[in-house]
Structure formats: C-alpha cells, structure tokens
Symmetry: C2
Subunit: 187 residues, 2 copies
Amino acid sequence: MTDAKPLRADARRNRDALIAKARELFADGRFDLRFDDFAKLAGVGTGTLYRHFPTREALAEAVYREELTAMCDRAHELQATLPADQALESFLRGFVDHLHRHEGLARTLATLMATQSGALAEGTQALGQVVADLLAAAVKAGTIRDDVGAGAVMMTLHGICAAYDQPTYRTDADGVIALVLAGLRRT
Amino acid sequence: MTDAKPLRADARRNRDALIAKARELFADGRFDLRFDDFAKLAGVGTGTLYRHFPTREALAEAVYREELTAMCDRAHELQATLPADQALESFLRGFVDHLHRHEGLARTLATLMATQSGALAEGTQALGQVVADLLAAAVKAGTIRDDVGAGAVMMTLHGICAAYDQPTYRTDADGVIALVLAGLRRT
DNA sequence: GAAAATATGGAGATAGTCTCCACTTGTCAA
DNA sequence: TTGACAAGTGGAGACTATCTCCATATTTTC
C-alpha cells in the first residue's frame, strides 16, 4: 500500500506543492479548474502534474487521503472505547458532521464511490472496511440485525455525499442517518 | 410544463429520431458516445442535435421521461388501492426492481439528481413529489414516523441509483430499502 | 404560389486533455 | 569532489470533444 519507491527529492517537493495548492483551491470550492492550471498555479509543468496524478480523481484522493485516514482512525478509537452500537452511531453522526464542514471531502467521496476504479479508490475501500467492522461488531453484540450488509450502508453514505451542495443537505443527511440507525436496530 | 410551441413537422421528426436512437444506444449501455455522433447516427446534423437537446442530460431526460412518468403513475395507483404504508413499501421495492432491469434509467436518475439544475430535472422533481406524497399519506395514517422528510428518502434513492453498475447492486439496494422501511416504522 | 417563419447541417472556432522528448537535477559509487 | 547514470522536468503542440454560426432548405401561412 505505502509507496515502495523512494521518490527523488525534487519529485517529492513538486508532489507536495501540487497537493498543497489543490487543497487550497478545493477548500475554496474551485474543483473544476482547468487541469493544466493546477500545474501552473502550483509552479510545476503540465507533464509533472500528469506524471504524479494521472487524473483529477487521483489528485483529489491524495488531497483527502489524510482526512479520510483520520476518520478511519476515529472509528477504531470509538470501537475500542464504546459499546458496538454506540460506536456505530457516533461514527455515522460524526461522518455527516464532518462532511457538512468539508464540502470538498463530500464531493471527492461521491466521485470516488461512483468510480470504483480499482486501486484509485483505495481511500473509499478503507472507509468501507471501517463501516463493515463497526457493523460486524454490533451484529456480534446482538444489537443490530444481521441481514443487511455494509454495502447497503455504504450506498446510503454515497447518497449523502452526492448531495453535498443541496440547500437541505444537513437536515436530510441527518434524516438518512436516523433511518439507517433505526432500521438497523433489532426488532 | 408541456410544450406551448407547436413545433414544425420536420423538427418533430428529427427530435423523435434523436430520442429513438438515444434510447436504443442507452439500452446497449452506450451512454458516453461522442455527442456529435448521436447526431450522425440519428441522421441529423450536429446543430440540430444541439438545438433540440443542449446537453447530454437533456437528451437523457427526454429518453426516460416516459418511463419516469409511468413510475409516478404507478405510485398514484398504489396509493389509491393500498393502505398508505403498503403503498410506500410496494413503490420502493418496485423502484429497485425496475432500476435493476433498466440500468440506463438508474444512470440517468443518478445524474439528474446530482445536477439539480432547475428546469432540467423536471423528471426527478416529479419523483420527489411522488415520494413526498406517499410518505405524507403514511404519516397521516400514523404508520410511519413524522420526523424524517422526503429529502432523506430521496438521498437514499440517489445512493441506490448511483451504484447501478456495481456487482453487489441488487443485494445492497434491497438492503437499503429494508433499512428505510424499518427505519420509518413507528416505534 | 410566394412571402415569412422556422429549421437544417456541417465546417470550423474554441477549449480542455494529455503526450513526448530535449533538457535539467539529483544520487551515489569511487 | 566528481563523473556517470538514473530520475525527473516543463511546456509546446498534437489531439479530441464541444458547440456556434449562418448560408441554405423546408414548412407554414395567407
């Protein structure tokens, strides 16, 4: 998973500059900038940009990799300190909350989930794994039903991510989480 | 809503040819064809295509307008003949079933829901209205909770549509519906 | 059947993506 | 240090898809 290649000093510098500039622009909502311009703004050539990030999605993933990792870590932490069902609830609510504050992440996740293109979506696979773990623990504890898989929950999360720019986003997203949690509860 | 303009005979002919060819191609999974080629294949000029359908989404909507209308009609029918909660359940399960059989519709809906671009998404607004009606009736009948809006349900449907091409689609989509229905039930 | 209104088509302007390679920079062994 | 090789760079320009424009053609109207 982690780069087996030691990457030359200038290459790393350029790569970092690209990610930094992209993060800055994404935070401003400038997602759809001409791809070549990313390069110009980051102070590198077009070729360099393409060598490091062959697609827009690859760049987006790199930008949000950290953030996504942090979310996964948080899940593990919750899982270690709370009863399984509470960990799940906490995670899902926190997920929406975080997305609400970071539109760029929502947008990126929606895109990556939609284009399940193998190695590219490494980040979302990690997220899927985390959700699967949380669910499995709660199933094992007997607090949620066992006939609905993690894939279904991921679908609802996808729906949440995709709507990041709609006016009623927060209310609806909270509603989705409420439905999922209530729906999962053993009856 | 319906065209107030009587459209010249040749214009209508071309428009229909475009829709027919697009439907045929969509059914074959050829969504991403060069836009100009739609024109060539349908036997009209590029300009004509663009005059009738300024964007790919506009074309997609025209192709699936009928199908979507049929789904909405079905909802009304269910609502007229079944208890509110059963109508809702029937509609949602039928929705997934239909999507499973018509990948093109799923793809189109996902796109249209994502780009809530005003007049363009006329079709999805109709769908939203139908869902809202079904929910309202069930709320009124006291069989489902009243604190989760139609927007939340639409978000989950969006998630379902967006995943149309994933291998575990059907299982996961059924899971989502199960969660939504169980989650909506009054506790 | 001729004028007015409406629609056509496809060449070419425009703009974004991505490749290619002569050149620069970094690394490392001696 | 330094020389030689590997690794990386940048940006001109090829390529591709989108979309506009308007001289020409078809339909409708009177």
